[in-house]
């Protein structure tokens, strides 16, 4: 049987179907004032917030769970679940007082039992948690009351307060996990945060619903859908077409275009992430003149202009502006003439260049490979012949462990706290897996600072260390990294210096 359809009717049917499909697609993407859809670059690795240190996942965790301490938009530590804290002068204990009005999403009160469970008991129980590393100094947590406890450390823990607001430090419900089982917690996680997890689909979307019984300021938007969109071009397309209301980490060149179009607000925000050259203390870089020449030859402002629209701040130390360890009065000059002079002292020149290796990732962070290529060219101009090799980020540790990294490696390092221990302390610590600088002199200075409990002395020590490390060519800080944000013009958010875009701060106007 053949269905005979007049051509006009066929066209009407086809157009009608297309219109219906199109209209329903548009309806599905339209936002209401009580809902928002965000295009997010990565999924959470697990719903156990203590399990993996994933910087991109922290704003999502912060919507569902609470941290003992929080940071304000300028990264100053502020009370949160903990009302007050007192780190002992020797750094061996920290007394904390928790709020008494906090409940988990199932209605159970949050007490020091949960605090002890999170930061001691489950770590000692052998569950594979990344927080086991950050809190390995915790010997005991003595509970004095449902709201008061004292943390006891086996060695000074000067950055314990900072870690209370950092990666993985979220209070989880002891009674719920022990009663319902760990697997059930992973499937149906509850926290004390401003949102409850309503729905989760691996690598697809996270749906959050406002916790109307939240102890703190209530979220302005009732329902947040976090759409996982890993491809940057797809994120651009999603915001452009209105399928999401806000998105992050789009290519820098798109920001200007969005700003020219009506209806969007697009920003390039400098954040507490540094782009640097991690260097070795041996091979051709055993010569301090070569190291310093390599650093002086890099025009950081030009790199920023070329690859980040000029928004990435050139850095002279391993700290970003506004953070405690930043040295505003210290500048490591771009000076190709000086670079040539230094090389000449070691008998190198453009005609007789020193040969070194440079490793870089391609796509690990925006424009990484392009930056490396530009540096190779800048070095060539002064007499450094660099062999550029592309490595996978996952290979970095293995190459470093086996001493197979070249003289310099382009690297990106994130530090949401802004604390100098997590900038230069980690990057220059020879015991850490990512530091190729294996020099006892600087290594010893770092290890000493890890034990300094007095805050002011510690910060002063790191400032000295940062200057010393750069002046000796032990590290080459390049740029402050940026985060791009594109949103509908009537959707506002609170801008944090560390790049957090928190769902609970979103608001339609």
């Amino acid at each position: 049987m053949v269905l005979k359809l007049p051509r006009r009717s066929f066209l009407q049917l086809a157009l009608g179907t297309a219109a219906t499909v199109g209209t329903s697609a548009r309806i599905a993407s339209a936002a209401t004032n009580d809902a928002v859809t965000i295009g997010w670059p990565n999924d959470v690795p697990s719903w156990d917030p203590n399990q993996r240190f994933t910087p991109d996942a922290q704003p999502v965790f912060k919507a569902v769970f609470d941290q003992p301490l929080d940071q304000d938009p300028k990264l100053k530590l502020i009370p949160h679940l903990i009302k007050s804290w007192n780190l002992a002068p020797d750094g061996l204990s920290m007394a904390v007082e928790l709020r008494d009005d906090v409940t988990f999403h199932n209605g159970d009160p949050m007490t020091t039992e949960d605090f002890r469970y999170t930061f001691l008991e489950r770590i000692k129980s052998g569950i594979k948690l990344d927080t086991a590393n950050s809190w390995k100094k915790v010997d005991d947590i003595v509970i004095e009351s449902p709201t008061k406890a004292t943390m006891k450390f086996n060695s000074p823990a000067p950055t314990a307060p900072q870690w209370m607001a950092f990666l993985g430090s979220y209070v989880v419900p002891k009674k719920y996990i022990e009663g319902q089982g760990y697997d059930n917690f992973l499937k149906n996680p509850i926290g004390t945060g401003p949102y409850k997890l309503a729905e989760y689909e691996l690598n697809s979307r996270i749906v959050l619903e406002r916790n109307d019984k939240y102890w703190g300021p209530k979220a302005k938007i009732a329902r947040v859908t976090i759409q996982i969109i890993k491809d940057p071009s797809a994120r651009v397309a999603a915001i452009q077409s209105g399928q999401v209301d806000c998105t992050l980490n789009v290519p820098v060149r798109e920001v200007e275009r969005f700003n020219k179009e009506g209806g969007f607000a697009a920003e390039i925000n400098p954040i507490t992430r540094v782009i640097l050259l991690n260097v070795r203390a041996d091979l051709a870089f055993a010569d301090k003149n070569v190291r310093l020449a390599a650093h002086h030859a890099i025009d950081k402002a030009a790199l920023s202009k070329a690859f980040y629209g000029g928004a990435a701040v050139p850095l002279s130390v391993l700290a970003t502006p506004g953070t405690p360890g930043y040295l505003a009065d210290f500048t490591f000059k771009y000076d190709p003439a000086l670079a040539k002079e230094l090389l000449a002292k070691s008998n190198f020149s453009a005609a007789n260049p020193v040969k070194i290796g440079l490793a870089a990732t391609n796509g690990q962070f925006p424009s990484d490979y392009d930056i490396a290529r530009a540096i190779v060219q800048m070095w060539k101009n002064v007499g450094i012949d660099a062999d550029l090799q592309v490595i996978e980020y996952a290979k970095y540790f293995e190459l470093n462990r086996g001493g197979k990294l070249p003289e310099a490696t382009l690297y990106s390092w994130d530090n949401a706290t802004g604390d100098p221990e997590i900038f230069s302390g980690y990057q220059l610590n020879p015991k850490m897996p990512f530091s190729p600088w294996k020099d006892e002199d600087i290594g010893q200075k770092v290890l000493t600072l890890f034990g300094v409990a007095d805050y002011d002395k510690r910060i002063a020590g790191y400032k000295d260390l940062e200057r010393y490390a750069v002046e000796n060519g032990a590290t080459m800080p390049l740029l402050q990294s940026v985060l791009t944000v594109v949103r509908k013009k009537n959707l506002n958010y609170v801008k944090y210096d560390n790049g957090w875009v928190l769902p609970q701060t979103l608001q339609w106007t």
Binding site: A35, F53, D130, S233, S241, K395, F397, L399
Partner: protein, 338 residues
């Protein structure tokens, strides 16, 4: 015929055992020889070198490679494919959760590739000897040169951004639930009676399925046309004409059936390639399938997960080849006699 097909499947199952062993051993060795450090990747950035060494010992990475493989094989035979480094979950359960999404997408794409391939092949054949033939040939070559990810971006731009008639992120619209029964969303939506979810899932499937389907249809198109050319030189076609059968009947009832055999073989091979092509398409369209998971696994040097996904791809290809060979037996009477 059922007995022949059953025998063929049994033979294929037996042959699959050594194939899977060899593939798993190769995969295992290649992954372990890569200069990546799964021990370091499984620990937080503040882990010390000593802690990484301890972890390496715990993970058995300091043992001889054959010993590591035998341990893995023993666990795999007991259904344990190891734990994902990144997700800290059983690699097998992650694959099981994402495989239906990829199968659904690949199947939809294959149907479209079949429709376009057969339709296009017939059209190309129909235009033979006409003034349109060179133009049609050029178009088919042009289509052949566009890879699936480019189709993905073109369709996304045209129908998602420019015309804004189709969604392109995820599986259903925000606000709609994702029912979980079999893992196959279209089926699950119907099983729970949510036609709104079914419609939304269909809308979300259109662009990725077309991107994959369009990329693989030109090969089918050109092979079908070539097969038809060959078949039209056979005597029985001339005899059919002499018997007074119409050209449509000759083409559809006689030539197409015989021409479909090499096309079917090709489609089987293509499905394997198409299945691996889901990797980029799933990332572009934010489809939570196995390809998307593979991208995460590679990025994080998640060796247990890469191994589990790699083996699953191998199993899928073996299953598809068995299905194609069975269909071949059904369509080709000569094979049944043998």
């Amino acid at each position: 015929m059922i007995a022949i097909v059953a025998k063929l499947i049994a033979r294929r199952l037996l042959a699959a055992i050594p194939i899977l062993l060899v593939v798993s051993a190769l995969l295992f060795c290649i992954l372990r020889l890569l200069p990546v450090d799964p021990a370091a990747m499984s620990l937080p950035p503040n882990a010390t070198i000593e802690e990484i060494e301890t972890k390496r010992h715990e993970m058995g990475l300091d043992r001889p490679l054959p010993e590591q493989y035998l341990i893995w094989l023993d666990d795999a035979l007991h259904g344990d494919f190891g734990r994902s480094i990144q997700f800290r979950r059983e690699a097998g359960s992650l694959v099981a959760a994402t495989l239906p999404v990829t199968i659904e997408l690949a199947a939809a794409a294959m149907v479209l590739a079949g429709i376009f391939g057969v339709g296009g092949g017939l059209l190309l054949f129909h235009l033979r000897g006409t003034l349109w033939e060179p133009a049609a040939d050029l178009v088919s070559i042009l289509l052949l040169s566009i890879p699936e990810f480019l189709w993905g971006l073109i369709l996304l731009f045209v129908f998602g951004v420019l015309l804004q008639v189709l969604p392109f992120t995820g599986q259903v619209a925000p606000g709609l639930p994702l029912p979980h029964i079999t893992g196959f969303l279209l089926l699950d939506a119907l099983l729970v009676g949510r036609f709104d979810v079914f419609l939304s899932a269909c809308q979300h499937l259109i662009l990725p399925a077309f991107a994959l389907g369009l990329a693989f249809s030109p090969t089918i198109m050109r092979v079908l046309r070539s097969s038809l050319f060959d078949i039209y030189h056979e005597d029985y076609i001339q005899q059919a004409r002499l018997r007074g059968l119409s050209e449509e009947r000759i083409l559809l009832k006689h030539a197409l059936k015989n021409a479909s055999l090499p096309t079917l073989t090709l489609a089987g091979v293509q499905f394997g390639i198409l299945f691996s092509g889901t990797l980029l398409i799933e990332v572009i369209y934010s489809f939570p399938g196995m390809g998307n998971l593979m991208v995460d696994a590679v990025r994080n040097a998640d060796l247990p997960l890469i191994q589990a996904i790699g083996l699953t791809y191998c199993i899928v290809v073996l299953v598809i080849n068995t299905v194609v060979d069975s269909l071949y037996v059904v369509l080709n009477p000569k094979l049944r006699v043998r």
